[in-house]
């Protein structure tokens, strides 16, 4: 096992990354798609509004980007902290 201080720092960096990504995840689905939809009502997209687009398509596209971005960022973190396989 890697020395404790290094894996602690690694874990902290990981948790920080997860929190940032979860905020984006939340805002683009629950936020724009449901809670904040009334605020986006003025922005029209093909016969409806931006909130509808996020609820039915935009959120899914954001999810995809998030997963690959997280994988990319974590691979880098793994190497930096010497905990990669």
């Amino acid at each position: 096992m890697a020395d404790n201080s290094s894996s602690n720092a690694y874990w902290k960096a990981n948790i920080q990354t997860i929190l940032v990504f979860l905020v984006i995840w939340f805002v683009c689905s629950f936020g724009f798609g449901i809670l904040l939809r009334p605020m986006l009502a003025g922005i029209g997209v093909g016969g409806t509004d931006l909130g509808f687009w996020f609820a039915q398509q935009g959120s899914i596209i954001v999810f995809l980007v998030l997963i690959f971005a997280y994988a990319f960022r974590m691979n880098k973190l793994d190497r930096e902290h010497g905990v990669d396989e």
Binding site: S7, F30, G46, Q57, F63, V83, D84
Partner: protein, 585 residues
């Protein structure tokens, strides 16, 4: 050629393809084909996960719910995809590092308790069984149309085929067969959508077509559709009708349920490296998103075509007449055979209540003379749009592939949980291999009998029943896994108390609204007027999960702390280094 014969040929050909690949993979390879995921390209592994994951709920049912529910049903789209983000960040890499094969094994080891393992098995069986009921509903719809029999007969035939498929070992676990099933499924789903999108909007990509203009009027198709449904007195397609609270909780429930469903999680246990577990979730979502980005277009366009079919002269003009349906074509010569074919299944019904010889299709329940089961929309969609016969047959094949593969996979999960985790692991460790196999088959037979019986009077449309299963997984398994990884203080007693509290409250809430053991008429409340605020039974999983977390932390704080060796286990699963290969049961 007769549509019925064409269906048989296309469905038969796809089944021959799956069996052919299964035989080729068996004969032509050594261990690498069997070690699930290992040595298989991550992209192919993602396709296989997609086939595993997308069931009758996604393929047959979801777009139909969207067609009639509009904006409110966006929860299915967000809920069934957003969970993959949680899976990739919060669960998959750590469970891969843990390096065993099943969810109950992880819970049993992390919470150093056989009781915890058994409770996890019970949670797994409850969620999976509910999931199978939803699949059976979809199987019944697909078989009744495809064989042109009643819905009940279709359900029994489907149940028999699922049982054989699962008992024979099916083609599950053979990744290349699942890749083929994915390809059939996604082609079957997108081809009719592309045709319809081209017809309506001139845009070949349905996801873009949804937000484009109608070629005949030049107005956006969503606003045209909104005008049609509101003029006919149906609920708005674009506006929110459900409460914000319920939509929010429903989405949470589906998302964390996705991340807690055992048959999805196990796919990430066996990838070669921890880093692969993260990207595998991404590839799986890529292939799932191909269907999920198309589904809202399928829903909206099917609704539009349905309305246009029953109002061939526009909604201001004369509605479709009974005589035209009997003749099998309308005044302009457009084919209406599909209406008669679906009427045979009982899933589409019309009744000329006011005796004017016309079918009045409106939102007002008193005046409305046409009922369309939501679950037939995707299968009927190519017929409604009058696409060529081979497209109709292809959709039937895709629906069957989706329903059969997932139903068989779930039955195997249930049977191995009973025979391996419960009987061999707990009750009788000395059971012979033959005895274990027998127990597995009996468990499978019981599960399918129960699911078929309840499938006759399902608690909802296929996707709604499956949503209940996600709620159960959300309330029981997801919190236990999360606390197992991200907390070093939650102990054995806490985890067991938490899982039981989450599972029991959620099961009770569902039974109070859907009837005890899903038996119709035994419910105290309805989802239209739920027990607590506006929280429907499909959304309660989120509350159940919160209860699970709260109880687990409370009980842990007043009982013995977690032993040092388990704290070490938690430390070790948090770093990828030294994962090695997954080890045996």
């Amino acid at each position: 050629m007769d549509q019925f014969v064409l269906n048989i040929i296309v469905v038969g050909a796809t089944f021959a393809l799956y069996i052919g690949i299964a035989i080729w993979a068996r004969a032509g390879s050594t261990a690498e084909f069997y070690a699930a995921g290992q040595g298989v390209h991550p992209v192919l592994n993602g396709m296989a996960t997609g086939a595993d994951w997308m069931s009758a709920a996604s393929f047959i049912s979801m777009a139909g719910l969207i067609a009639f529910g509009g904006y409110d049903t966006s929860v299915y789209l967000m809920g069934w995809t957003g969970g993959y983000v949680l899976l990739a960040m919060l669960l998959a890499p750590y469970l891969r590092k843990f390096g065993k094969f099943t969810v109950p094994e992880f819970i049993g080891d992390r919470f150093y308790s056989n009781v915890a393992r058994t409770v996890a098995v019970i949670c797994l069986i409850t969620a999976s069984l509910t999931y199978v009921i939803g699949q059976m509903t979809g199987v019944g719809v697909a078989f009744s149309r495809f064989l042109e029999v009643s819905n009940t007969a279709g359900l029994f035939i489907g149940a028999a085929i699922v049982f054989m498929y699962a008992v024979l070992g099916g083609m599950k676990g053979i990744t290349y067969t699942q890749v083929a099933q994915y390809v059939v499924l996604i082609i079957a789903y997108t081809i009719p959508a592309v045709f319809i999108s081209l017809n309506l909007t001139g845009n070949p990509i349905p996801a873009l077509g949804l937000f484009s203009n109608d070629v005949s009027t030049g107005a956006p198709i969503l606003s045209t559709l909104e005008g049609l449904v509101t003029d006919l007195g149906f609920k708005s397609y674009l506006e929110q009708s459900d409460t914000t609270l319920n939509m929010f909780l429903f989405t949470v429930s589906l998302m964390i349920g996705t991340a807690g469903l055992p048959h999805v999680i196990v796919r990430f246990f066996t990838v070669p490296k921890v880093a692969d577990a993260r990207t595998s979730a991404g590839w799986a979502l890529v292939f799932i998103a191909l269907l999920y980005l198309t589904a809202p277009a399928v829903g909206a366009m099917a609704r539009m075509n349905l309305i246009n079919t029953f109002y061939p002269n526009g909604i201001e003009g004369q509605a479709l007449s009974m005589a035209e349906i009997e003749a099998g074509e309308d005044a302009s010569g457009a084919d209406l055979e599909w209406v008669n074919n679906w009427a045979k299944t009982g899933l589409l019904a019309f009744d000329d209540k006011n005796g004017d010889g016309l079918i009045t299709y409106v939102g007002d329940a008193e005046a409305n003379e046409l009922t369309v089961n939501r679950d037939i929309i995707v299968l009927a969609n190519p017929e409604i749009a009058r696409l060529p016969g081979w497209v109709i047959a292809l959709v039937a094949a895709g629906g069957l592939a989706a329903a059969l593969s997932t139903a068989a996979g779930l039955l195997m999960a249930i049977s191995s949980a009973v025979s391996h985790d419960l009987i061999k692991g707990q009750i009788n460790p000395n059971i012979s291999e033959k005895g274990e196999l027998m127990a597995a088959r009996i468990a499978m037979a019981v599960a399918i009998a129960v699911a078929t019986y309840l499938g006759l009077n399902p608690p909802g449309f296929a996707a709604q029943t499956v949503a209940l299963a996600f709620g159960l997984a959300a309330a029981s398994i997801f919190p236990a896994l999360m606390m197992g990884i991200f907390s070093k203080t939650v102990n054995n007693t806490g985890a067991v108390a938490g899982m039981l509290a989450g599972l029991i409250t959620t099961v009770l809430y569902i039974f109070l609204h859907k009837g005890w053991f899903f038996i119709a008429g035994t419910n105290t409340f309805t989802d239209a007027d739920p027990m607590i605020l506006s929280i429907k039974s499909t959304s309660f999983g989120a509350i159940g999960a919160a209860i699970n977390f709260a109880v687990a932390f409370m009980v842990s704080s007043i009982t013995k702390p977690v032993p040092a060796n388990v704290v070490e286990l938690v430390e070790s699963i948090r770093v990828p280094k030294g994962a090695g290969a997954a080890t045996g049961h």
